[in-house]
């Protein structure tokens, strides 16, 4: 019985040690897009994150530095409302976000490789570093976008408002700008703002004429391939993978050396 127990223990140890090295392929699990929410937590006096679409006070939270390591291309980020804290700084220069949303009253400074969608909800303050495909800025927001913007929409969704009131600066170019309020008395529809010329102050565009166009550019002759939203391993184009599959020589050799060293140490202690 004792011998059997020993044998079982040995087999278990072997399984634990060798399991990571079994097989010649190391496959990573393909994760789908994740939404992260960031909020200033008074107890910690810091901005913290949860991997959730909305903050849950009953659940745990992690450091922003951890978020910056976890977040990946195609993920979304929501900055919660908090008017008492310092601005939330997120630095993820190698990640392209599917969506950045700064909630009403929130303050954020986010650096990323790029943003597919950026929402600045009513009354927020945001600085965004990275090209933005579609930006939607809601009323009374103060937003600086320090790179290029393809489509900038400024909205006043309050029923009785007749114009927009956002304040926006863009250091890059703006391809298409559309500002409108629900009653739509005052709106803009402009194109091709030159680099570092787009300025809007409380809803009024102060960019000098000559730095933008009032007419839409001609449609491109060959549009880019349609973007189907996809997740995990199908995000990339389908091209034969011609890399050499690595054999786990090094990890196994390390285990061998450690075992030999262990045996030598055991002999010495006898």
């Amino acid at each position: 019985m004792r011998k059997l127990k020993r044998l079982v223990s040995i087999m278990a140890i072997m399984a634990v040690v060798l399991a990571p090295f079994c097989g010649s392929k190391i496959t990573a699990l393909a994760d789908g897009p994740t939404t992260f929410t960031v909020k200033y937590v008074d107890d910690t006096s810091k901005w913290r994150y949860q991997p959730l679409a909305s903050w849950d006070d009953t659940k745990g939270h992690g450091y922003i530095s951890e978020l910056e390591h976890l977040i990946k291309d195609g993920d979304s980020l929501i900055i919660e409302t908090d008017t008492t804290a310092n601005i939330c700084k997120i630095n993820i220069p190698n990640v392209r976000l599917a969506n950045l949303t700064v909630l009403s009253g929130g303050s954020a400074n986010v650096t990323a490789k790029g943003f597919d969608e950026f929402y600045a909800l009513q009354g927020c303050t945001a600085v965004v570093n990275g090209d933005v495909k579609n930006a939607h800025v809601y009323d009374y927001s103060i937003v600086n976008m320090n790179n290029n913007v393809e489509y900038l929409e400024v909205v006043n969704a309050v029923n009785d408002e007749m114009r927009v009131h956002a304040t926006i600066g863009v250091l890059g170019t703006v391809d298409h700008f559309y500002a409108h309020a629900l009653k739509n008395i005052h709106s803009y529809h402009l194109y091709n703002f030159k680099e570092n010329t787009f300025r809007m102050n409380l809803g009024w565009v102060s960019t000098p004429e000559g730095n933008y166009s009032t007419t839409a550019p001609a449609a491109p002759a060959t549009p880019a391939a349609p973007a189907k939203p996809s997740t995990g391993s199908s995000d990339y184009d389908d091209v034969p993978k011609t890399g050499e599959v690595p054999m786990p020589y090094i990890p196994v050799a390390c285990v061998l050396v450690l075992c030999l060293a262990g045996k030598a140490a055991l002999r010495k202690t006898r």
Binding site: R6, S9, I10, I13, M14, V17, L18, F21, S24, D73, A221, T222, A224, A225, A227, K228, S230, S234, D235, Y236, D237, V239, P240, K241, T242, G243, E244, V245, M247, Y249, V252, A253, V255, L256, C259, L260, G262, K263, L266, T269, R270
Partner: protein
């Protein structure tokens, strides 16, 4: 205490044995697959079997030539001109390889390099030969694969061939040597033998790229197969010239054909090393391989 030491020593001995067996097995597998691959290619490759023989020098009794006019009848100038214009059809030097596996559509050779391999085309499953040798057996070297969107008959503007970047130098392992301009100067040409003819290419661009996301709107070299308009041609040509690591001095114009060789590199995720060559003067034409 003694008992614990004995157990630990036993465990360590077992682990050492397992590690040695695993390392030995993988090394043997590596060696045998490399040897298997080399043997198959050597058996198929006519240039290695007959020293001093090049495909263009090979002539068989099957050479088709027009009948020579009778010596009693003086030949006219028109008859002589007709004789000169009729192309000489040779036996395909890789006929046995084409017949051995119908999935093989071409043979590629870069003179004075290791790149001398069959090229497989399986439109129903592009990756079939990715980890299989010419005979269809599992082999980490795989075969060179002609992209399913490329076509030899009818011929598309660009033929894209993918191959593994093997540390041993096999397949497209030596393709990255083209990063050195001196290497390009010594190996500027690529030869492709199809069932119909020999195609000669001159390298026009060498660059590093990558496989992008489906939503990325950037130049994707692996998406260019056909240029039906000047605009489509210019888009490809201008981009490869811009990306090229050095200026080869070779130019192209609308109507020219290309071959693109692609292999994995690791400078970025899904990185690729790419060599593009332009088709130049035609080579030999061959008799049909299959009736």
């Amino acid at each position: 205490m003694r008992e614990r030491r004995r157990i630990l020593s036993g465990v360590l001995s077992l682990l050492i044995l397992v590690c040695l067996v695993a390392l030995g097995y993988w090394l043997w597998q590596d060696f045998s697959q490399n040897r298997q691959n080399a043997m198959i290619v050597e058996a198929l490759d006519i240039t290695s079997s007959e020293p001093g023989t090049s495909p263009s020098q090979t002539e068989s009794p099957d050479i088709t030539q027009p009948e020579e006019p009778s010596s009693e009848v003086p030949s006219t100038e028109a008859e002589e001109a007709a004789t000169q214009e009729t192309p000489l059809l040779l036996t395909n030097p890789y006929e046995s390889a084409f017949l051995a596996n119908p999935d093989m559509k071409a043979w590629i050779q870069i003179p004075d390099t290791k790149i001398d391999y069959p090229v497989m085309w399986t439109p129903k499953d592009e990756n079939y030969y990715l980890y299989k040798d010419f005979e269809g057996k599992e082999n980490k070297n795989g075969c060179l694969i002609l992209d399913t969107d490329s076509c030899l008959d009818p011929l598309t503007t660009n033929l894209i061939i993918h191959g593994h970047n093997m540390k041993s130098g096999a397949m497209f392992g030596d393709l990255t040597d083209y990063e050195d301009e001196d290497y390009y100067q010594k190996h500027p040409r690529i030869i492709l033998y199809t069932e119909q003819c020999q195609r000669n290419y001159e390298i026009i661009a060498v660059f590093r790229s990558q496989v992008y996301k489906k939503t990325d709107t950037v130049f994707k070299f692996y998406k260019f197969f056909q240029a039906d308009t000047q605009e489509e041609f210019d888009d490809f040509y201008n981009n490869i010239k811009k990306l090229s690591l050095y200026d080869t001095g070779v130019t192209a114009s609308f109507g020219d054909r290309f071959i693109t060789l692609s292999t994995c590199v690791y400078h970025v995720t899904n990185g690729r090393f790419v060599v593009v060559a332009k088709e130049v003067e035609p080579g030999d034409s061959y008799l049909p391989v299959r009736e």
